[in-house]
Amino acid sequence: MAKMIDQWTITTDRLLDGLELDWGVAVRTIARWVDMSDYEQMVFIEEWAIPRGYYQELQVRCKQGRLDEDERRRYDVLRRMIDLHRPAIEAILEDSAI
């Protein structure tokens, strides 16, 4: 069942697109959290695996030196946004790691 991480064929550009999209949505979601239905809150928490997986994969590729200059710039911008909003997300996820 287990598959190696480096078998994930998604392009780095797609990972960055996906992470930018999902974190943008997450920031808006945090802002309206108390107004969301129980169902919407539960779905958000259960789907957090998607941006978390994107971010983990980008971290691996960055460490391996697989990001070009433009990708590295986008990644750095994302990291700053993630660091800024991570506490609010962590509070929502109730100790689930990002």
């Binding site: 287990a2 991480i5 994930w8 169902y39 539960m42 695996a49 978390r52 994107y54």
Partner: protein, 175 residues
């Protein structure tokens, strides 16, 4: 979630497995799989983030928010994130979910999120999704989540690895 807990005996069994670790037989497992496989998405209206709707529109699909949960999930995971090919229909997305749940190699995880019981089913993407429907942002695994409280599918999407899934460490894995 929907104003109360499902009284269906298999949903009640799932909640007992989660909350008291009740042992299940092979027949119970088959009943659980049948129950989850026949479950619908929520019929309640849910909102679609403007960015998902915008990208869906750029790919040729109009999504009005709020909408039904199945359309909202297709808008996000198919038309915006493109885990499935954008040509995948809601019916095909649902077919793939049913295939995941019934897959011989699928694994089932039982856990609580807060005090909400959840059953997750995970299978390898290339075993359950036809090649022509696997999108450019697909992941190696498809994860389906079911609520034994509401008797509905919560969500279904692709992930990088089982470890990356947001499943608590204390989850009970049945298969």
């Amino acid at each position: 979630m929907t104003g109360g807990s499902s009284g269906h005996p298999i949903d009640r069994l799932m909640r007992r497995v989660i909350r008291s670790g009740e042992r299940v037989t092979d027949t119970d497992v088959r009943d659980i799989i049948d129950r989850v496989r026949s479950a619908p998405f929520s019929t309640r209206s849910v909102s679609v983030d403007p960015d998902y709707a915008r990208i869906a529109a750029a790919n040729g699909f109009t999504v009005h928010s709020p909408t039904d949960a199945l359309t909202a999930h297709v808008a996000k995971h198919v038309w915006a994130q493109q885990q499935w090919m954008v040509t995948t229909t809601p019916e095909e997305y649902l077919d793939d979910i049913r295939t995941v749940i019934g897959a011989r190699t699928a694994r089932l995880a039982f856990y609580e999120r807060g005090r909400r019981p959840v059953v997750a089913v995970v299978a390898e993407t290339d075993e359950v999704v036809p090649v022509g429907r696997i999108g450019p942002a697909s992941g190696p695994y498809v994860l389906v989540m079911y609520s034994p409280d509401s008797a509905m599918i919560l969500t279904a999407y692709m992930i990088r690895s089982i470890e990356a899934a947001n499943i608590p460490a204390g989850a009970l894995w049945l298969k």
